[in-house]
């Protein structure tokens, strides 16, 4: 009696695991994308930093270019931060789930 009850649980668990391996190719792609975006944001921030340094030492006379690169850096960072916020929210939603 008891055994058959547990077997039913195992039957539910088995196909689930199969689906997991089939979809296993997806998560690394997202991680790669996130890493790529982080690198893009990092590059933008470095560019902005270099532009500001150039302006400070008087090498650059292009004020609007400096401001544009700063804006670019801010937007790239904002995107990363928002993606991170959504991920964390989703994780916390699942964490709070009543089992």
């Amino acid at each position: 009696m008891e055994l058959s009850a547990i077997q039913a649980v195992g039957a539910i668990g088995a196909p689930e695991r199969k689906a997991e391996t089939a979809a296993g190719a997806e998560p690394p792609d997202f991680a790669k994308w996130l890493e790529q975006q982080v690198q893009v944001a990092d590059r933008e921030i470095r560019t902005a930093d270099r532009e500001v340094q150039k302006l400070a030492v008087g090498e650059s006379d292009n004020l609007h270019q400096v401001m544009l690169s700063l804006e670019r850096a801010r937007l790239s960072l904002d995107l990363i931060v928002q993606v991170r916020n959504r991920l964390l929210e989703a994780y916390q939603d699942i964490q709070r789930m009543q089992v």
Binding site: Q65, R72, L75, S76, D78, L79, N85, R86, E89
Partner: protein, 143 residues
């Protein structure tokens, strides 16, 4: 995100052009009363001739549209006749007592300054709009 950053480049190109126009107008006004340049000839009033950016073939083929802000421009002499001022005592006066001065028209230069500043502001507005759009998009669903 890159679409919004493309707008930055486009408007940045426009801002660069307007700055050059302002520089040229300032140079013309600054030299309006010079009678000799560093090379001994009379200063020629300058003007900016800008050309809209030509889309690269590859870009047009792949993207279908041209999003490039780097408009090409040339600063060239406007070819206005010099203004003759009667001043016999001037060291650069000719045999009749006339001094040649650059044919800078203050009215034209002031108009150039005004339009350059306004167009610069318009480019800044476009950038701010692009930034606001991107920011609004990032605000979707935020709690």
């Amino acid at each position: 995100m890159s679409g919004y950053l493309d707008i930055f480049d486009v408007s940045g190109g426009g801002m660069r052009l307007e700055r050059v126009r302002l520089e040229t107008a300032a140079l013309n006004i600054a030299n309006a009363h010079t009678t000799r340049g560093p090379d001994g000839t009379l200063f020629q009033p300058l003007r900016v001739v800008a050309r809209a950016p030509a889309p690269s073939f590859e870009h047009a083929l792949l993207e279908g549209a041209s999003l490039s802000g780097a408009s090409s421009y040339q600063v060239e002499a406007s070819g206005v006749q010099p203004r003759l001022v009667y001043d016999p005592g001037h060291p650069h006066a000719d045999a009749q007592g006339y001094v040649a001065m650059p044919g800078v028209n203050p009215l034209v230069e002031m108009t150039q300054i005004m339009t350059a500043v306004r167009a610069y502001e318009a480019n800044v507005k476009a950038i701010e709009a692009a930034r606001a759009m991107a920011q609004r998009a990032l605000d979707i669903g935020s709690r």
